[in-house]
Symmetry: none
Subunit: 189 residues, 4 copies
Amino acid sequence: MSRNKIVDASVKLFSELGYHRTSMDDIAKEANVAKGTLYYHFSGKGELFETIVTDGFQMLKDQIGQVLSENQPPEQQIRSIVQRHVELFLQYSELVHIIANEITNGIEPEILERIMGLKNKYIDFLSDILRQGHEDGELNKLHYELAAAGLIGMIESASMYFIKQGKGTREELHETINTIVLPALLRNL
Amino acid sequence: MSRNKIVDASVKLFSELGYHRTSMDDIAKEANVAKGTLYYHFSGKGELFETIVTDGFQMLKDQIGQVLSENQPPEQQIRSIVQRHVELFLQYSELVHIIANEITNGIEPEILERIMGLKNKYIDFLSDILRQGHEDGELNKLHYELAAAGLIGMIESASMYFIKQGKGTREELHETINTIVLPALLRNL
Amino acid sequence: MSRNKIVDASVKLFSELGYHRTSMDDIAKEANVAKGTLYYHFSGKGELFETIVTDGFQMLKDQIGQVLSENQPPEQQIRSIVQRHVELFLQYSELVHIIANEITNGIEPEILERIMGLKNKYIDFLSDILRQGHEDGELNKLHYELAAAGLIGMIESASMYFIKQGKGTREELHETINTIVLPALLRNL
Amino acid sequence: MSRNKIVDASVKLFSELGYHRTSMDDIAKEANVAKGTLYYHFSGKGELFETIVTDGFQMLKDQIGQVLSENQPPEQQIRSIVQRHVELFLQYSELVHIIANEITNGIEPEILERIMGLKNKYIDFLSDILRQGHEDGELNKLHYELAAAGLIGMIESASMYFIKQGKGTREELHETINTIVLPALLRNL
DNA sequence: CATGAATGAGAATTCATTCAT
DNA sequence: CATGAATGAATTCTCATTCAT
């Protein structure tokens, strides 16, 4: 019970404020739990953050796994992946942002490494999709992992700009990303 | 003299460690000046960071301004912009990363706002290039500012991955980005 | 427990050294608690000081309320008020001094304002006593609030001089103040 | 030249802000002089303050000396002394306040002692006037030095209240103080 | 005479973490 | 399971003072 309240509060606060601006006090207050309780369930701020992040990546993978299992044509698949990713991002903006970028910061190196590992696995996961999706068509020289990393960055940067600056509509966001991504990835488009 | 030493030390440390992991003590030590000297030249950590960031953006704009003044054909121009951006990024990796992403963090809101303003100006700058470059050709529906924001994110995310994971070569990095970017932007390609 | 130790230490140190010469380190050391403990119980030096001051005024009011409730003739009442005030002052010398005078200093304006409010309330409280006490007798033109403020200043300044210079006896102190105050206030004396 | 500018700036700033809130930087800026120049003319902040204070007392004494030399009847003399003191106070409010009260604070003990000496001399000066003025009449038991200290406190506290709270008029201020002071001091009134 | 860059000791505050209950 | 009072290391910032020019 307490554990869940803590996790929920953490997602909310880390999402809103980022890692550093979120203090254990804030989390305890938001979760309606005593500060000591945080340390009963988690070894520290780092582990708490790691838990959230791990869950975040799992969500991303689940979403995308769903898309893949639907067995659509490649173009539609990529559109769907982008869409899910963008929507998830818009929902948890800061959290996904942290996962993807801010990670570099002031987190214990050990935990940081594990989180980076998660991110890399996610990139591998995406790059496999790219590789497979293109094995049939002809493709320009393209490094799939770098491409996957780049795509993630693009999606997040554009979404972030959309959220923060309020420029464009949700549809334009999806379309702009697709317009850039699709011709690049789908040879036969 | 001192001021320069401080700026140099700051670039180095902010680049290596990010904003939060870099303490004023660290900077003073690295710069071989007394702690008070930092506050003689800058009003605080925030202003010091802002200075670095402002300089960074200026460098980016200068680089790109150079490219534009060379009056090459569009494709070559975009290739050059990407190349300069990537190279600058590779050189100042973390710093540019911070400029572009980490900004969200625990910086005084006022300063944060000014830095966000700089980033937005840079995005406007890029989106103008996109808009102009495409005015002649036929273009799919594309929101230039979102596209510019996305491009920056893609370049940085891919470069980051390249640096951190050592996957691929410098050429593959450039080529991968170009392969994604060019067909998307240049209709007549 | 800790809170009490902190309050006691603060009264002692603020009384002896004044607001600025008393550091949070000093207080922590005097109270035998860790520095962080101060901030667990009080939001900062300002709030700690405000607490002490508020308590001080409460003590003053309580003392004087007691006097009034004893329903003595006016002259005796004023004598008692002066006596209580002087005695309290002699006991907490510097603290009361700070409350009454030093306030002007380097305290956060917001807190300063609240403390000034307390002092003004105390002056109002005294001036009401003056006004009521004289409603029956004939009284020269006299602005009660200015008179109350003046009386406080006189008591404190004389007491301070007594403490610091060791001139006169405790009885002379009381008598001198009464000799000045009584004929001024009591028309029918 | 510089020295004068520094003294003027110091009077202004110490008067407005008190000792602690006034920094050497502030003084230098206000005086349009480099910080080092302050130390060319004065050995430090303490000496600078002492100079101001000494001048302040001299002014007080001069004012009162003038009154005394005018050879008026006792009542008029005391009225004049009060008036001069009050007017001087209203003009240099904070400065006189500091001289009289705030002195206790964070000033080097050595300098503090000298300033206290000045204040005591001023009290002696006043108490002599009191003693002489009453030698002829019959006087209740009254400790002249304590009375003098009390009078100063009363004048300042009432004036301060007048300034800060804007209660009453200038005339009421003078009258209220006189109404309290005169019957107390002048037996034959 | 005057400067202003540089100093460094000292101060307030934050916050992740511990631990007795 | 849960608590919350207590901790103390780390951090940012202030400011009187020094000194080479």
